[in-house]
Point group: C2
Chain length 423, copies 2
Amino acid sequence: MGLVVQKYGGSSVADAEGIKRVAKRIVEAKKNGHQVVVVVSAMGDTTDELIDLAEQVSPMPAGREFDMLLTAGERISMALLAMAIKNLGHAAQSFTGSQAGVITDAVHGKARIIDVTPGRIQQSVDSGNIAIVAGFQGVSQDSKDITTLGRGGSDTTAVALAAALNAEVCEIYTDVDGVFTADPRVVKKARKIDWISFEDMLELAASGSKVLLHRCVEYARRYNIPIHVRSSFSGLRGTWVSNEPQGDQPMEHAIISGVAHDTSEAKVTVVGVPDKPGEAATIFRAISDAEINIDMIVQNVSAASTGLTDISFTLPKAEGRKAIEALEKTKARVGFDSLRYDDQIAKISLVGAGMKTNPGVTATFFEALSNAGVNIELISTSEIRISVVTRADDVNEAVRAVHSAFGLDSESDEAVVYGGTGR
Amino acid sequence: MGLVVQKYGGSSVADAEGIKRVAKRIVEAKKNGHQVVVVVSAMGDTTDELIDLAEQVSPMPAGREFDMLLTAGERISMALLAMAIKNLGHAAQSFTGSQAGVITDAVHGKARIIDVTPGRIQQSVDSGNIAIVAGFQGVSQDSKDITTLGRGGSDTTAVALAAALNAEVCEIYTDVDGVFTADPRVVKKARKIDWISFEDMLELAASGSKVLLHRCVEYARRYNIPIHVRSSFSGLRGTWVSNEPQGDQPMEHAIISGVAHDTSEAKVTVVGVPDKPGEAATIFRAISDAEINIDMIVQNVSAASTGLTDISFTLPKAEGRKAIEALEKTKARVGFDSLRYDDQIAKISLVGAGMKTNPGVTATFFEALSNAGVNIELISTSEIRISVVTRADDVNEAVRAVHSAFGLDSESDEAVVYGGTGR
């Protein structure tokens, strides 16, 4: 049997009991004959407490020092986890991101992994140790400064290590049972997905599903590392994410993988844009220069009578003010009429590779929304996804209606624990 | 002006307010034209909290992982301190022990510094930064594992960096005003010492004075780095420790530097040891093999009538049981009568290079004790120190009597804050 990388989030190691429970699970994998490399996040609220301390000493903490501070969190959890494993009679060594060879660029707070040189980790597991690695952190290639990978960083660390170590699988342990066909807090009849393709998972992640972050799935797809998302509490089989189903996984792709929703975005509409070349470019260059990431962009044909069109886009609510300010400055140059800002919206997305070959999907989707009395404000599609923007108030009903319309409801109501995945 | 190394203990950076106060002090030194390197301990109770966590997951935490855990403490304080300095408008960078080039042996929990290669620190201060370095920690030369230096480790880090960087002075900031002629908690009239030689300071540290640890002073003497012990709260001038007085320091050595006491030791007496060659060697080899550090050793001439002698020694109370067990095993071979163990003792020491040339010192010392009604149980002397063992109950009275007899009492009662120095 080969090497397995396991990742445990902050909620799984929130206290001494959690650490001991996780240690037992790790030792099980070792006893089953695997070489085991574990990536661990900071304990429970540690990161928030450190951020709070930083804010007390400085209103604008600097990136380099802030990263140095935050990485203390994993240092604590990984050392404790190694101790707990040793206490069960198995050899374990903990390693910082730097020691594990996680090399990044120098963008503090959201560094990107540019190389992984896991020589020490390989050596450690070859000597019979369970290697415990700090998630979320690395060391910059040039300056040798400590960096952090930003949101979802520990998952990315795990996948990157799995790729560098040629692991059989990267197991992401979390506080939910896997990836569901919809958010179980909204849809009681949501079903756990047994297997999902990288592509569908990427679309779900981009559309609001929070179990795995886009970045981590992207990395796994690039290096073809199967991910197994599962609960650190239940021991049940979770969701496999890979190129193709493996073993006893269902061989036939489901038409629809799931329904995702996202209420974190706002909608900006630029009203009355002259319909001539270069206007959209001017608008989105202004947005890009302000370093704002946007999501959907929708422009319809212009009204023949006026030669004017409206351009709408969605973006994180937190960046709304910045976007409006940036656009106001282009008003004279572009010559649009006005700006509208709306943060009471929700995005609902239907994801599934099967929709490519099933022409009825779009119609069923819109009918389901219509039957539920939900009005559609924007529509955007990709090859394997349809997204609509609706009123925020309608989101739960809309998701349930669509989930049901595509036959995704499970037979029985499942009781599911659901929460964040930590970092 | 040259480079200054400042060290701040855990009580000086116990919370965000403390960190901000310390940051201001550091910036003052920078404004005065110095290059500044700061060594910082973990915040207040952080270390105890981490130890508590470790005990919850494992009754016998392993050295390597325990060191990894504890070093998270300085990581937090140093990053916060750098942020606080930046917030005052000055450039600062924090460095782990490893980044600062503190190379140690591989003895986890009490590693010894074997080299300091402060290239990154020098570069950082040459670029105009204030460099903040984690105290108490290093990296092992061969295995590249994180190590900790044990008790007083941060002071040693500071002195070692000061030596490697050729600093003008190593300032040790603590929660007392300096080194006193006696423990101010016991002797209200104890005086702050303006200057003391390395030799006297070493004897005081070995005799129970807790302001500076022996190891740190030893390092400073070897590399001839002046130490300035002072309060991080008051801003007053503290105590200079160096080879010779500097500047406006008193040119004439005091006869007596101070009176130290120590109630952490116990006394073991091996009764009825045959007075023949090799017996003492057998006894102390047994103690040494059990890795017990002993302090005073006293053997008087044997009684002519029996040919038997008694050998007494003192050792840390915590090691008493181990010592008795080790000695019991030698009983048949050595042929002694019995063992006596007494942990209700105190050691009182008078320290001062002046006693070498002032023959009356010993007599005055014993008279003072006698006048105070204090019985002497053991006596041991070095060139610049006299130590006696008395009943623990007598210690405060004994120290006050001796302090007064040598004219060390200050004119007025000083109000002094006194506590530990952290690690």
